[in-house]
């Protein structure tokens, strides 16, 4: 595990450095928006990693309800927190891109609103895990996560189902959509780098959660010993 970390951390850092350079210097300038469009290379991969983490949270929650394993509960908690981190960056970089392009920071269109709701759902999930008392917190959190995940496909489809201020899909959209090949290469490199970063965060956060579980158990045992003396 330590060996894997020793390799994967420098690889991710170098990859992020290279892809940032590609995004800022090498990718062609978009004709209508100009240089500010380069936010795209951070904005979309952040959203992708957030979706991926929420999906992992969903799967881990289902597994927890089925098997009641501490490992799946730890993975669910870790994935939700990492997802919230990436979703936060998505929600900050979006308005920073919107202001110079649309002339407004925010609008309550379907894509933006459902994304904000998604962030609120997973922040609520983390608050629930942190503050709910009693032995059923994990079960409650897992059930909450399964219902909460319903918003992910809604966010994804919102720009297809509704007319929004947010642009129509550039990738996987209809006729006339698509990226310039030079932009697509830079985008895919950034997507790979961010995915790797997300996985690193997930592994790190999972280890922390496992330690937390072990410590909680130790505290409970200590309290039992104290009570029986």
């Amino acid at each position: 595990m330590r060996k894997l970390a020793l390799i994967s951390i420098p690889v991710t850092v170098v990859l992020l450095g290279v892809t940032s350079y590609l995004a800022l210097e090498v990718a062609p300038t978009e004709q209508t928006m100009g240089d500010v469009q380069r936010i795209f290379y951070y904005h979309v991969p952040s959203g992708w990693v957030a979706f991926l983490c929420f999906f992992i949270n969903f799967v881990a929650s289902v597994v927890y309800l089925w098997k009641r394993s501490a490992a799946s509960d730890a993975m669910a908690a870790a994935a939700a927190e990492v997802g919230v981190v990436f979703c936060t960056v998505l929600l900050i970089t979006g308005p920073l891109w919107a202001r110079p392009v649309w002339g407004i920071w925010w609008t309550w269109d379907a894509r933006l609103t459902t994304t904000l709701v998604l962030w609120l759902i997973y922040v609520s999930y983390l608050v629930l895990r942190r503050f709910a008392a009693g032995g059923q917190t994990q079960v409650l959190a897992a059930a909450f996560a399964i219902f909460g995940f319903v918003d992910v496909p809604i966010v994804y489809m919102s720009i297809r189902w509704f007319r929004t201020q947010h642009p129509s899909p550039v990738i996987g959209g209809g006729q006339g959509s698509g990226l310039d090949p030079a932009m697509a290469r830079v985008f895919l490199a950034n997507l790979a780098a961010f995915t790797l970063l997300g996985i690193l965060f997930l592994v790190l956060r999972y280890k922390l959660q496992v330690k937390e579980q072990a410590l909680e158990l130790a505290h409970a045992e200590a309290a039992l010993k104290g009570g029986s003396q």
Partner: protein, 48 residues
Amino acid sequence: MNPITFLKAAYIVAWVVYLGYPGRILLRMGRMEEERKDLERKGTGSPE
């Protein structure tokens, strides 16, 4: 405001979050390790 300012702001915010988050996790791990050692010192045994 110059659009480049928004581009710079977005990149700075993203990097502050992406560098700060693992730092926060490592701090929490450190605190937890201290707590674990403290428990061991009190003679309750290793939690792991």
